[in-house]
């Protein structure tokens, strides 16, 4: 089961800097970062190594099955972010044709 970022996240991208498979978004080098409310983990690419958990200064990252009840919906929020990011990329490619 993948790891999930929850609402205390302050978007300081410490997790992203340490993730070995680069599955956390948005990257501070992208414009999307400037409007981000938080960062998100791609559940399809996370390899469950837990490196990000120790890097997070506000303890916002949980293994999916251990999410506190008030934040269980964040599993879906993280997944959804990437579904929508893919859609956005698809739209950009279409319009740039």
């Amino acid at each position: 089961m993948p790891y999930v970022i929850t609402s205390p996240c302050v978007a300081d991208y410490s997790c992203l800097e340490i993730c070995p498979v680069d599955c956390i978004s948005p990257n501070p080098d992208d414009d999307a970062f400037d409007h981000a409310e938080q960062l998100y983990i791609d559940p399809d690419r996370c390899i469950d190594c837990a490196a990000c958990v120790d890097a997070c200064p506000v303890n916002a990252i949980y293994k999916q099955e251990l999410l506190p009840p008030r934040w269980t919906h964040y599993a879906e929020v993280n997944r959804d972010y990437f579904r929508n990011a893919e859609k956005r990329i698809a739209v950009v490619q279409e319009t740039s044709l």
């Binding site: 609402s7 205390p8 996240c9 302050v10 978007a11 300081d12 991208y13 410490s14 501070p28 970062f33 400037d34 409007h35 409310e37 938080q38 200064p57 506000v58 303890n59 916002a60 008030r70 929020v77 959804d80 972010y81 929508n84």
Partner: protein, 459 residues
């Protein structure tokens, strides 16, 4: 062959909030150059708005202090000098002589005004003042807020507006477990407020709050949420589907909040969309607000605009908080853009008459305006420190500085009660100790005299 290492670079960071402290962390990370940093802060305490802005019922976010910022301040190459206000006995021209480079990270200490009649009546305040007050900021701890009105009105829909609405309606038992200032707990325990009315100029699809803050309103079992003017005309119905993911999530949450059935709601938060305050009513004290209705025009989320309908109503209240944004103040003779409340800069290099001022940098809210979350300041500081290091490599920093000992002597001579990092540690330990006895994270000292006493620094 031996290569001679450059003597340590001497940098001053002015302002110990997130932006300044992220800059410190990035300078410490350099491997090619040793950097000594002095952090100068006008308060006796570091951490800026994480201590005095972030809501007391959000203790998790404040962990960034212990897990990140304190780590930087405790570093042997870093010195903290609190109770030093730049522009007072120490001015930017002094720092320019003392250091290779200076980074200004003084945040935004003012706010945007509504610009409507009645704004200065007793009972009309900035959310900024109320926030600083309940967080025990020493410049605001002697304020009085009269919460005897049944309704409070907040103008604006940002996260700060939601923080204020939440604190005004929060269960006291919850607040008693936080680091909220004791006098604020006392005032809140006598509050008569039953309704917090949030006025949004724009539509329910354009709320300025973030999703987590909005969702949090659903965690209370005693505070109901009501929406007004959140229905669309049949032609506009499709707009909600066209919103981007973040805004769609907000609209869905608003609807969920409204549909909740609470058994015995004690209080309520009302979002009234498409409504602008036109005048604050009252003779000496606030008695009400005159409101003007707006309508939504435009056929796609990107072109949505509002226009006044000319229709006005009145609502009774004794308390109005404007929450339409913080704003930076000019600092001594540094350049300043009045229109944006920021110091003019190019990627963090301060500009005067469009020319770069060598060795002078800026980061955080005073650089880019009051937006983003705590981590936004890390990216912002990264841009600034990269410029500084580039300038160093290109030989654009002067390299003629005062020794650390001489700087401290100058500071001690000019500022009477200097608070160092170990003095701040004494304040911090005393606050935590007092907190342990009450099962709270800390009990804050809220005026300068008691902060300095706890620091062991004679006034």
């Amino acid at each position: 062959m031996t290569t001679q290492k450059r003597p340590a670079l001497r940098v001053a960071v002015v302002g110990a909030g997130p932006a300044g402290l992220y800059a410190v962390g990035q300078l410490l990370d350099q491997v090619d150059v040793d950097v000594d940093v002095d952090v100068l802060e006008r308060l006796p305490t570091p951490h800026g708005l994480v201590r005095a802005g972030v809501a007391p019922d959000h203790p998790l976010k404040k962990r960034v202090i212990d897990n990140m910022f304190e780590f930087y301040l405790d570093h042997p190459r870093v010195r903290f000098f609190g109770n030093v206000e730049l522009g007072d006995r120490v001015v930017p021209a002094d720092l320019a002589l003392w250091y290779d480079a200076v980074i200004y990270a003084v945040g935004a200490s003012d706010d945007r005004k509504l610009g409507i009649p009645g704004e200065d009546l007793v009972g009309s305040y900035a959310a900024r003042e109320f926030v600083a007050w309940y967080n025990g900021h020493p410049d605001f701890s002697d304020r009085q807020f009269d919460l005897s009105s049944e309704r409070a009105v907040i103008v604006g829909t940002g996260n700060v507006a939601l923080d204020v609405a939440r604190i005004l309606t929060c269960d006291l038992e919850v607040l008693r477990q936080t680091e909220i200032a004791d006098y604020a707990l006392d005032t809140l325990s006598r509050s008569k407020i039953k309704e917090v009315l949030i006025l949004a100029r724009r539509s329910h699809m354009q709320g300025a709050f973030n999703n987590p803050e909005l969702e949090e309103l659903g965690e209370s079992s005693t505070v109901a949420v009501e929406l007004r003017n959140a229905t669309l005309t049949p032609e506009q119905q499709c707009l909600e589907q066209q919103l981007d993911w973040i805004d769609r999530r907000k609209v869905a949450t608003l609807k969920k909040l409204q549909q909740r059935q609470l058994e015995n709601p004690e209080k309520r938060i009302v979002f009234q969309f498409l409504t602008s305050p036109e005048r604050i009513l009252g003779d000496e004290r606030v008695a009400g607000v005159s409101l003007q209705s707006n309508r939504l025009v435009g056929d796609s989320p990107d072109t949505l605009a509002i226009e006044g309908t000319g229709e006005t109503t009145e609502v009774a209240t004794g308390l109005v908080f404007r929450s339409i944004g913080y704003r930076g103040n000019a600092l001594a003779d540094l350049p300043f853009y009045d229109s944006t409340g920021t110091i003019p800069n190019a990627l963090g290099r301060v500009l005067q008459h469009n020319e770069i001022l060598p060795g002078v940098y800026v980061t955080g809210w005073i650089k880019r305006g009051p937006s983003g979350v705590i981590g936004s300041n890390k990216k912002c500081a990264r841009e600034t420190t990269s410029c500084l290091l580039e300038d160093l490599a290109a030989g654009r920093l002067k390299g003629d500085v005062l020794s650390p000992v001489a700087v401290e002597a100058e500071l001690r001579q000019r500022c009477k009660a200097l608070v160092t990092q170990s003095d701040w540690h004494r304040i911090d330990s005393a606050e935590r100790l007092a907190g342990t006895a009450q099962s709270r994270p800390r009990v804050k000292f809220t005026d300068r005299a008691s902060l300095l006493l706890a620091a062991g620094v004679p006034e």
